[in-house]
Subunit: 381 residues, 2 copies
């Protein structure tokens, strides 16, 4: 209990340091806003850290889903990109990106077989697998085709989501090899690092040790270990060491209240906000914002009290999100935004929030400088 | 505690009766599926109930956001439609629907003033207000214009979201009248009826009594009470009595696990499912579906154990939703879907789930008969 209390206190202290962004005047709310200067700094900093560690950066684009942001990541030095769905692969391949890893145990049912063949014809694709049946389905998709995509075997390093135990990669890899799929190595995701600040170094260590065991196992099976890929924003800076060859953080471009609370980014590194208007103050001790569940993320995050964070109003708590209403509880005597005021909301989890918008308003110092498409919005399969 | 336990038991028993829908073969998952026969039955049943009660039906289109569904509701006898945002009003006005109530305390900042004027030129608009400042901003939008939209004063009947106390409607109504906005009555939303089955009749009674007080207050202020509007799917059938003149349920077209658990619909009245594929079964006691947080709703609902419901697998529990992964916990010895199997997921809350998709696959008896656009998807402001 003491640990949790002190963690929450630290998380709150971090959140309180998020600078209130300058919001462009006359913005039509709810409006997703990208702070371009912060975004570019975040891209450069992660690239520099990976370069210094001698690890390739293959950012996960599910956070931003924007070809404009991916181009900036590649221009800064990223090796290629990571996607979570075939739909994302299609969008980024169409944009000319030719080195794409689908970090997902794809099951090629329905029209996915034809879609996968089509996208592999125009880009260099790598695909995740975590079972022999999935390997067989994937191989069948490319039977008789000129070349099949490479595969990485997914390893569970403690997140207990998908992936086999690291000692079991050999069986999957050999099945892929027999089926004619080129095996390039293994990948993992230390998602359990999102649990708390203390979980981050432990999850990073789990990523490294799982990849080391996978490396030995693949070696023993006579399979390639060219790619040993790991990563998440909470573990990226901690895990970027041998045997890991490649890191796949995604959230670091924009960050969110969860990353700040975890200490995985600095408060000044939040680059995405939802501008929202106070539309009602009729109920005592509360204001209503026009950024509801269809305008920001509903993720409940252990380290963050409430469903988002309002810079400048540290005592305000977002207690509920209905479709078009955010409930903001205002404790007695604490600062509250006024009726009609435009405030900035930091989502608890930025990835699902971005996926709600077709376009982002890009700002520098509170001036609108661009509109970017969220090209792969809704491409969830 | 006993009450809660028995409610949960009843809720589970109801959920277990949701028939597993026929899923079309070769569907590309995650795929939003509408059962057309169930949808049409739901539309007809709600209309018949409101007709029998002598109450006008003005369905909230935020659930479906599809002009195709709105046309069916109007053809069945609905008076007009309800929307939650100006963006929704624009989309449905463009589709030729000319009687639209914006059941929201609009604050016309940014470009909303020009947008509101433009949409009011091509449809008959009614707008919600719950403060004198909002009335003044709204009136200013229509200064010098040929005619301003009518207003309904929002009343808080116990949901404590937006709206004034029913005894306070007179002040807002008079301010609107002085500012040149035609006052037509009042509206409320018994959102606290979502709390539990027992809360439904209480919230319905709160809607009726709040509208009765509002009626007396408006009468005393010399203001119109032509429209006394209430409603939600949990309260619609219970509150449709005088003095209420109009009901605004939305969710009833598709329903969801929450409505089934609340007893607000029958298990056979669920018309919306997300078809999803088991993509991984690598971790013991668990399978992973490809319908994550960007493919279904993350709403946590008191009456439903887990983040959705899988007909046919009553012991399976959706314990977490990552962006592209649904975690399904399978207790020892209970039925589990197999790797590669396509299952149907009933969202906890259908409205935010529908808003994730551009198109819906419309089926009859497991055959695809149509594709419908979610025309107002993402129109959250």
């Amino acid at each position: 209990v003491n640990v949790n209390r002190s963690q929450t206190a630290t998380a709150s202290a971090r959140l309180e340091q998020i600078p209130a962004p300058l919001v462009p005047p006359d913005v039509d709310t709810p409006c997703p806003i990208v702070d371009l200067a912060v975004l570019d700094r975040n891209i450069a900093a992660m690239q520099a850290a990976m370069d210094a560690a001698g690890v390739r950066l293959r950012p996960h684009v599910k956070t931003h889903k924007s070809t404009e942001v991916a181009r900036r990541q590649l221009a800064a030095g990223a090796q290629g990109i990571t996607v979570g769905t075939l739909g994302e692969a299609e969008v980024f391949a169409d944009a000319g990106i030719d080195d794409i890893f689908v970090a997902y145990p794809l099951w090629c049912g329905g029209s996915k077989a034809a879609r996968l063949r089509a996208v592999h014809e125009r880009t260099q694709l790598m695909v995740g697998v975590d079972s022999v049946p999935a390997v067989e389905v994937l191989a069948k998709v490319f039977t008789g085709a000129p070349g099949a995509p490479g595969v990485l075997v997914e390893v569970d390093c403690g997140a207990h989501r998908s992936g086999v135990r690291p000692t079991a990669v050999g069986e999957i890899a050999r099945a892929a090899d027999r089926a004619g799929l080129p095996v390039h190595g293994a990948f993992t995701h230390g998602g359990h690092g999102y649990a708390s600040p203390a979980a981050r170094p432990a999850a990073a260590e789990d990523e490294r040790s799982a990849m080391e065991i996978a490396r030995c196992t693949l070696d023993a099976a006579g399979m390639s270990t060219d790619v040993l890929s790991a990563g998440s924003t909470p573990t990226a800076l901690l895990a970027a060491q041998p045997p890991i060859t490649e890191m796949r953080p995604g959230t670091y471009v924009y960050n969110d209240a969860m990353q700040v609370a975890l200490g995985a980014c600095e408060p000044a590194e939040v680059a995405f906000f939802v501008a929202a208007t106070v539309v009602s103050s009729a109920v005592d001790g509360q204001v209503i914002l026009d950024a509801g569940a269809k305008a920001t993320s509903r993720d409940v995050v252990t380290q963050v009290q409430g469903l988002g964070w309002l810079p400048g109003y540290p005592k305000a708590e977002i207690t509920a999100l209905h479709d078009y209403h955010a409930f903001v509880s205002i404790p007695d005597g604490s600062a509250a935004p006024a009726l009609g005021e435009v405030v900035s909301l930091v989502p608890t989890h930025v990835c699902p929030a971005v996926n709600l918008y077709d376009e982002l308003t890009v700002c520098v110092d509170g001036r609108v400088v661009d509109q970017w498409k969220v090209d792969a919005r809704g491409r969830s399969g």
